[in-house]
Amino acid sequence: MPRYDANDDSVVLIVGSGAGGGTLANELCRKGLKVVLLEAGQRQSPATFRNEEWFAFNQLAWLDKRTTSGTWRIAKDFPNLPAWICKTVGGTTVHWAGASLRLQEHEFQARTHYSGITGANLIDWPLTLAELEPYYAKAENKMGVTRTNDIPGLPGNNNFKVMYNGAIRAGYKTVHTGRMAINSRPRDGRSACWQLGFCFQGCKSGAKWSTLYTEIPAAEATGKLDLRTESMALQIQHDDRGRATGVLYADKDGNHQFQKSRIVCVAANSIETPRLLLNSHSTMFPHGLANSSGQVGRNYMRHTTGSVFGVFKQPVHMYRGTVMAGIIQDEARYDPSRGFAGGFELETISLGLPFAAAFLNPGAWGEDYTNLLEGYPNMAGMWIVGEDLPQETNAVTLHPSEKDQYGLPIPNVHYDDHPNDLAMRTYAFKRGAAVYDAVGATRTVEVPPYPSTHNLGTCRQSAKASDGVCNKWGQTHDVKNLFISDGSQFSSSAAENPTLTIVSLAIRQADYIADQCSKREL
C-alpha cells in the first residue's frame, strides 16, 4: 500500500470508508487517481465479527458522544445515541441489512409533487431518475443485488413466511424476498448467505456486500489506495482563493497530521459530514465551509420509521436467517389520498433476544413487559421505512459547550416529527398490524423508532445554490474542489433504504471527478 507524502497535493482525499467513501475510493483508484482514505475507526474482518449483539455494538458503532433535542422519541429513549451507525472500516455497510431499492421517479421531485406542505423545506433533486439509472445498474451489478442481473432472490425465512401470508390476506400484491445485496449464490469471490441472522453485527459469512471486503480490497489491489485507519478528520483547510487545500486529522496516537490534497470528498455520514464542514469555519467562511446558503446541517432526515411485532400461537423464530428477509412494496406508491405525502416500505426485521429486550419498548420493565418478551419465539417483526420531509429546523448543529476527545464541539441532532411523518407512522402501524392480524396474531406491538441508521439530507443537492450545499455531482456550490459523497447529498429521503443510491451517486461522482481532472477543471 502506498503512503503518500503529506505535501503531495495531487491526491484525492476522502473522509469515510462506507458506502459513499469506500465506493468512491475504489472507483477513483481504478481510474488511476491517487487516493488517501481517512477512516476514524479500526479495521475488522468477518473473522473478528461476533454473533453477539452487545459485543458487536461496542465493536462497530459510532459511540462518540452526541446530544439530541426535539419532539422525536429518540431524544427521550436514547438522548446520546441519535444514530446507530458505525465507526469502522466499511462504515455502516458493515451494519446495514442489504436492502437495495432504487428511488422512484416522483421521489426525485418532492417539491413538484408534495408542494404546499407547511413547515416542509421541499426541493426537487437537481437530478432525475433517468440520469441516475445507468449508475443504479452499475451499482446493482457491483453489489450483486438479488432480482437484478439474473441473480435469484434469497430464500424466505420463517419471518418472511408470516409476512407473506399476512400481506396477501390483507390484500397486498407486491411481496417478495426483496432486492438484497446479499449473495443468494456464490458470487464475486464471496459465499452464498448462511442465514446467520446477524446481518447487523457484521456478516461473518461475507455474503452481504460491504465496502470492507469488496471495494476497499479492490482499491488496495490497484496500488493507488492509501487507507489510514483510526484517523479522525478535524478540519478541512483552504487557501485564500477559497479552494480546499487538505485535511487536518488526528492519527491513532492523537497526533495532528495535515494531508494536502487536490480534492476533498466528505463521506462521513449525515451527522459527521456537516459537523466537519461546520468545524472548518474560518475568517473567509465564518459559518462553516460551503455554507453560504446556511443549509449545512439542516434538512436532516432519518426516515419515518417504527416497527410492528406480532405474537402468534405457534413458533416463528424470526431470528433465524436474514434480518430483512422480505418486503411489502404496495404502500411505497405516491398516493396522497392516504393523508400524507410520500410512501413507505414494509420490510421484515428481527432482533436477537438481547436487542429485543432493549428496543421493543425502551425503558419498560415489569410483568407486562416480560410477558411480551416471553412470547419471543412466537414473534414476527417488520420495519416501516417511509419518506420523511425535510425541515429547515431539523438540524445537526455544533454543541455550544460540550467538546469531544479532540477538543471540538460535539454535534447536537435536533428532530421534530412533522405532522406528515406522524400521519404516515400512524397509518403504517395500522397496516402492519393488519398484516399480522390476518394470520392470527394474538397480540401486535407498535415499536417506536430505533436510533437512526438512515441519516440523510444535511448537505443536500440543489439546483440553486441558496437552497442547498452541493450540485447534482455532489460538488459544493461554494468550494469547487470539495465534494459531498454520502447520504448527506439527498434532496429528499424517499421511501427506500438509501445505500444503493449512495453507491450509485458515488460511482457517478467518480466519473465526474475523473472527467474534470482530465479537463484540468479540478
Binding site: G156, V162, W194, G197, L353, A358, W365, Y376
Partner: protein, 178 residues
C-alpha cells in the same frame, strides 16, 4: 463465582484476607448461583437480587441469572466508586420507606420500585440487568432464543424456513435455497 473457583481463589492468602477485611460473605452458594461479592455488602446483594427479579420478572428463571446481574453490578461498583455510592444510597432510600425492601411482598416491591423508576439508581440497575440478563445463554434457553449461529454453519440447515403452520410462499416470491 462457582464453588470450585471460589475454593481455588480462597487458597490465595491475599484474596482471602481482602474478603475478610471487607466483611464479604465467604461461602458462595453454588446451588443458587450466588456470587462472591467484592464491593457490595450481603444485604445490598440480597436487595439487588429482589429488585432485579421484580424489574424483569420471569417465573421460569431461578435466581442464578439474577445473581449474575448482581455480580455485574458489584463489578461496576468495584471499578467506579460513584456507582458504588449510587447503589448504596439507592438501597438506603429503598429501605427507608418503613420496612426493608426485601421484607416486602412482591407486589409491594413493584410499587416501591415504580416510585423510584426515574432515579439514576433505578436506571443504573435496570440498564445493567437488561444487558446481562438477556445476554445470558441460560436465559436464552428458557425464553427460546438460539443465539449465535456461525459455529453451526448458520440457520440455513437448522430451520430458518421450517415454519409449517402457514403455506409456503410461491417460488416467485421466495426462491428455493441454492
Amino acid at each position: 463465582m462457582r464453588r470450585r473457583e471460589f475454593l481455588k481463589a480462597g487458597a490465595l492468602v491475599v484474596a482471602g484476607t481482602a474478603a475478610a477485611a471487607s466483611g464479604v460473605a465467604t461461602i458462595a452458594d453454588a446451588a443458587a448461583g450466588k456470587p462472591e461479592l467484592t464491593t457490595l455488602r450481603p444485604h445490598q446483594g440480597e436487595t439487588l437480587l429482589a429488585m432485579t427479579r421484580r424489574i424483569f420478572p420471569h417465573k421460569q428463571l431461578d435466581d442464578a441469572p439474577y445473581w449474575n446481574v448482581v455480580r455485574d453490578i458489584d463489578t461496576a461498583a468495584k471499578s467506579d466508586s460513584s456507582v458504588a455510592k449510587l447503589i448504596a444510597e439507592g438501597i438506603e432510600s429503598l429501605d427507608a420507606q418503613g420496612r426493608r425492601f426485601i421484607e416486602l411482598a412482591e407486589k409491594e416491591q413493584t410499587i416501591a420500585l415504580k416510585r423510584i423508576e426515574t432515579t439514576a439508581f433505578f436506571q443504573k440497575v435496570r440498564s445493567i440487568e437488561l444487558q446481562t440478563l438477556y445476554s445470558d445463554p441460560s436465559v436464552w434457553k428458557v425464553l427460546g432464543y438460539q443465539g449465535p449461529a456461525y459455529k453451526y454453519g448458520g440457520y440455513i440447515h437448522r430451520g430458518f424456513d421450517d415454519l409449517a403452520w402457514l403455506p409456503n410462499p410461491p417460488e416467485s416470491a421466495s426462491p428455493k435455497p441454492a
